[in-house]
């Protein structure tokens, strides 16, 4: 199981990073979303994996999973929504301002720097 989680985190990171490096805003947003999954699951897995041991206190149960990473990740998920919303709106505004959705934010017709053409 641990291998599955570790490889998923690695894969999510790879895909997220690759999309993050694209030249248009939308893939960057998607990449960031994938990267957030990776980071959240990573943080969550810091508390080690357990099955059927939710951190809800019950009579007679003594073994629980680590609640702390879960609390941290919970707010992280919500915050990453806020971040995603902000950059989505930023990219829309930039697109409307300059007429293209390239991440470098140069208006149409302005030459991008040599050797850096996406």
């Amino acid at each position: 199981m641990e291998f599955l989680v570790a490889s998923s985190i690695g894969l999510l990171t790879t895909c997220g990073t690759y999309l993050l490096l694209r030249g248009r805003t939308f893939p960057v947003v998607v990449g960031l979303a994938l990267l957030s999954y990776a980071v959240n699951v990573f943080l969550f897995a810091m508390g080690r994996l357990t099955i059927n041991m939710p951190p809800i206190l019950r009579e007679g149960v003594t073994e629980y999973t680590d609640p702390l990473p879960q609390a941290l990740v919970l707010t992280a998920i919500v915050i990453s929504f806020g971040m995603t919303a902000l950059i989505v709106v930023l990219s829309i505004r930039a697109f409307l301002e300059i007429g293209n959705d390239h991440v470098d934010g140069r208006p149409v017709g302005e030459p991008s720097e040599a050797g850096d053409k996406n």
Binding site: M1, G10, P27, V41, L96
Partner: protein
């Protein structure tokens, strides 16, 4: 306390001139002067005790963990310098009142001057070397403002920049040196450092510390080869030059050498570096001064030379030389400030500073002339003025000093320095004041200035004469007190007197005066003889060096920071990988973890395969944006299933509800943004990004693999599990952590969320009038519209679901403390329920029925959380301490009502407000683009209304 006040007064008083200038120039000057006078009076009140050997000390903790405390102490050395700074400062304030013309912004001048004064006083009274460094940098900054005061003059700006670059650069070196010093001793307090000379000099880090500190001192005190900034700083108004270059800024380096003298001096390194630098500076500065035609230029190089003299004396490392150095500091401050002010008078009255155009000015300006001649004679070292005394002592010390086994070297060079010094001083006397007028057409017709302008230099000149005639009576006590502080031990035997008998020094003095006079008589031929000598132009070299530096930094900046987000991200990720790899290889032991692993269930394996396929598909097909968005949704779904499977029900609930709103949000975005990503990446770029991404993924994946295969070390988690019920009153430990144990974090996070939503609001609200508004106004809807925009089925379904889902929200909220749920999740669920209405019936229609303003909700949420937290104060407990009671309700049963629930309500409100505000603002853009009217009816076809199509009606 009053010690702190002495330092703070100029800083606090610095606001006065800015205000008082409205009441006129006199009021402004008086206000400024009163500040300095008050500080001076406070200082003088302590003077008798300090001269009697007492040391005053005050201390306040600032950052004790760093060894940085606000500690001041006042001993003889501090007293001398503080007196010079405040005393001459007061004279300068009076002088500047009359010097500055009506066009000069006087208020600003006095503000800068007081800031500078405060910084200088701070340096000389600091007991903590870190605090001293702070003041040190402050003098660099405030002197920059003063030197560049006439900002319309290019020379002023360049001179200010050069001074800042040189002294600021030296200051950086000094920070390093001081930190090393503090590390050796284990304390940053001067009073401790000064007690540990042996420890410092025995340390292997002594030489680096010494060199770095001296770099700071030499740059500040304009020692060769850093002397070049000082003459260029002459572009400043003369009061600034008189203040900075006689008594204060350039003396800061000297002060520090004197302050550190007990611990740093006495070694061969100290002697050869400091004494040699001082000697070279003294001779070179004096030589250049002879040929300067600019009155202030001459004085500037003479200042360089005299600073070299004092540096050399301190460099000798003997107590008696230190006494001579201290005495010369006093003497130089008096005559040099007077000379600068006289030069300012000449400039002010004649309109030029070119010595070649002067001559016989004493006939026109008898008072200024007398002042100038006496001060210059003191500078030349003529009996009976005070300059003679300290120069005599210097020559005496040079006579006894052996340099590299050569006993002739020091005396000869010191005499040469003295000869040059006599030559330029005589030039100041004979070419300016005496002789015949050489230029009848001076820009103005000169006459003596107003009283306020000549009184300050006259006062100093009286001191020059009095100290010369009665040195022991007038300067004796302060010299003794200061020297005792510098030496840090018993005073050597010395006599401050005009006549010491027929000593070698007297002979050297006579040689200097005679040869110097001869040199001046031959000045014309000396000028032509040296005219063709190539002399390095320090400014050209400095400018060239700066230009090269700028080229290099610009190149680096443009490579790293070229405005391309792709490059920034690539560099950032690459750096992160490199740092990770370094850490990986720094640890030689890479054994596999031994923790027992969980078995793979078939469901988990299926989920994993699904995740891998969707991830890869999302990358491969990312050009089709709609598809990639759907794939992201699927990935989010798998992640939340994973959370459920791995004992994290709260996370699963949060993830899935966030997923819904995120997908809606991005769908809205895609309505505006292009639907396709163009295929424009070159193969090389794809390869590069692929390599970086795979490296990043491998790194992160193996890191978490390594973590998960090892046992969980003892963490603070056990505490939360043990105390959740008893202290927080809830059984859902995750929720209790969020609203109680780590409530302050959550508080910060909802604020961040609120700020993000408000930023979104701002980004959309400011569209009107911008380029974006034009684009939206001429927007052409390209994609095909659905025939029924608000289908009846959907409208009815969402209406039916609304109360149900709101109920679910309330339920999740209420049980959150004990079962999976809570404010975050409830907020998201309610948001989804509301968004469904917007989707079904359109934004406008729904918005008209929503009476709640989302901004208000965000604010209310943050306030609710804050009030809940603060209410703990009423009970005398720390912020966010929660209490709880048991409540019994019918149907629901017994549950605990914790005060944390109020906090969770704040979370809930903020989340709903933020999510709804973000979506509402996005849909506002859509409406602007679509030019669509607001639909009057909730659905396309409403069977209860007796019309055919609502579109027609609208």
């Amino acid at each position: 306390m009053s010690l702190t006040l002495i330092v703070l007064l100029p800083f606090i008083g610095a606001v006065l001139p800015a205000i008082m200038i409205r009441a006129g120039r006199n009021a402004c000057a008086i206000a400024t002067g009163s500040v300095t006078l008050l500080a001076l009076i406070l200082l003088m009140a302590k003077a008798p005790a300090v001269i009697g050997g007492e040391v005053f000390q005050v201390s306040y903790d600032w950052l004790p963990e760093l060894g940085l405390n606000v500690t001041f102490f006042l001993d003889g050395l501090g007293l001398l310098f503080a007196t010079l700074i405040l005393g001459i400062g007061l004279l300068i304030i009076i002088y500047a009142r009359f010097y500055l013309s009506k066009d000069d912004p006087m208020g600003r001048f006095y503000v800068f001057l007081l800031l500078f004064q405060g910084a200088m006083v701070g340096i000389v009274l600091s007991d903590n070397i870190l605090l001293l460094l702070v003041f040190w940098e402050l003098t660099s900054l405030s002197s920059f403002l003063l030197i560049g005061y006439w900002k319309h003059l290019p020379e002023g700006r360049q001179g200010a920049r050069m001074a800042l670059a040189v002294t600021g650069g030296g200051g950086l070196a000094m920070i390093a040196g001081m930190l090393i010093l503090g590390n050796i001793v284990g304390s940053y307090d001067l009073s401790v450092i000064l007690q540990n000379a042996d420890m410092i000099q025995a340390s292997p880090m002594y030489v680096p510390a010494l060199v770095l500190i001296l770099l700071g001192c030499f740059t500040k005190s304009a020692q060769f080869p850093f002397h070049f900034w000082l003459p260029h700083a002459m572009a400043a108004p003369t009061p600034v030059s008189a203040y900075l270059h006689s008594a204060t800024m350039v003396k800061a380096g000297i002060f520090l050498m004197a302050r550190m003298w007990p611990v740093l001096s006495g070694t061969p390194e100290w002697f050869y570096i400091v004494a040699t630098t001082g000697l070279v500076t003294m001779v070179l500065g004096a030589w250049i001064a002879i040929f300067k035609h600019d009155l202030k230029g001459l004085l500037a190089y003479s200042t360089v030379s005299h600073l070299g003299l004092v540096t050399m004396l301190l460099g000798f490392g003997t107590p008696i030389a230190a006494v001579a150095g201290v005495f010369h500091i006093i003497n130089h401050a008096t005559f040099k400030a007077a000379l600068f002010m006289t030069a300012g008078i000449v400039d002010h009255e004649t309109g030029t500073r070119d010595i070649r155009r002067f001559g016989g000015l004493i006939n026109l300006m008898p008072i200024a002339g007398t002042i100038g001649i006496i001060s210059a004679a003191s500078m030349a070292g003529i009996i009976p003025f005070n300059g003679f005394l300290s120069k005599e002592m210097m020559l005496e010390e040079a006579w006894h000093t052996v340099w590299m086994d050569q006993s002739w070297f020091m005396p000869v060079l010191a005499t040469i320095g003295a000869i040059f010094s006599v030559a330029y001083s005589f030039r100041f006397i004979f070419h300016v004041w005496l002789g015949k007028p050489r230029d009848e057409n001076l820009p103005h017709h000169p006459h003596d200035p107003p009283f306020g302008m000549w009184a300050p230099p006259a006062f100093l000149t009286i001191l020059v004469i009095l100290i010369g005639l009665f040195p022991a009576a007038i300067a004796g006590p302060i010299v003794a007190a200061t020297s005792a502080a510098v030496i840090g031990g018993a005073l050597p035997e010395y006599h401050l007197a005009l006549w010491h008998g027929l000593t070698p020094a007297l002979g050297m003095s006579i040689i200097a005066i005679v040869v110097g006079a001869v040199l001046l008589m031959r000045h014309g031929s000396l000028l032509s003889a040296t005219a063709n000598l190539s002399r390095p132009d320090a400014k050209a070299m400095f400018d060239c060096g700066m230009a090269k530096l700028v080229t290099v930094t610009r190149f680096a900046t443009e490579k790293l920071h070229n405005g391309s987000l792709q490059r920034y991200l690539a560099i950032t990720i690459f750096a992160a990988i490199a740092i990770g790899l370094t850490g990986f290889y720094a640890e030689p032991d890479h054994t596999a973890g031994t923790r027992e692993l969980l078995a793979v269930s078939p469901a988990a394996a299926i989920g994993w395969v699904l995740l891998v396929v969707t991830c890869l598909a999302a990358v491969v097909m990312h050009h089709n944006r709609l598809l990639s968005l759907l794939l992201v949704g699927v990935i989010g779904l798998i992640v939340s299933l994973g959370f459920i499977y791995l004992s994290a029900p709260d996370l699963a609930l949060t993830q899935i509800s966030v997923e819904v709103v995120t997908v809606i949000l991005m769908l809205l975005a895609l309505n505006i943004l292009p639907k396709e990503t163009p295929k424009e990446s070159l193969a090389g770029r794809k390869m590069r990004d692929g390599v970086i991404s795979i490296a990043a993924g491998l790194g992160i994946g193996s890191a978490i693999w390594a973590i998960m295969t090892r046992e969980l070390p003892n963490s603070i988690s056990a505490f939360h599990l043990a105390n959740s019920k008893t202290e927080g009153g809830g059984t859902n430990v995750v929720n209790v952590i969020l609203v109680d144990f780590r409530g302050f974090d959550t508080f910060g996070e909802i604020i961040v969320l609120g700020i993000a939503a408000l930023s979104i609001f701002a980004l959309i609200e400011t569209v009107s009038g911008s380029e974006a508004a034009k684009r939206l106004a001429s927007w052409v809807v390209k994609n095909r519209r659905s025939a029924d925009r608000h289908p009846m089925m959907m409208v009815i379904a969402t209406r039916v679901m609304l109360p149900l889902s709101l109920m679910v929200g309330v339920y999740i909220f209420l049980r959150g403390h004990n079962e999976p749920g809570g404010g975050f999740i409830a907020g998201l669920v309610v948001s989804v329920a509301l968004v469904m209405q917007y989707m079904a019936s359109g934004f406008g229609w729904t918005q008209n029925r929503m009476k709640v303003r989302y901004h208000g909700m965000i604010g209310l949420g943050v306030i609710a959380a804050a009030i809940t937290g603060a209410s703990a104060w009423v009970a005398g407990l720390p912020f966010l301490t929660s209490g709880f009671v048991h409540v019994h309700l019918p149907i629901v049963g017994e549950f605990e009502l914790a005060s944390a629930m109020g906090f969770d309500l704040g979370v809930f409100l903020t989340v709903v407000g933020a999510v709804m505000l973000a979506l509402a603002k996005l849909s506002q853009v859509e409406r602007m683009a679509e030019h669509a009217d607001i639909n009057r009816h909730p659905m396309d076809y409403d069977p209860s209304v007796q019309t055919t199509t609502p579109e027609k009606e609208a």
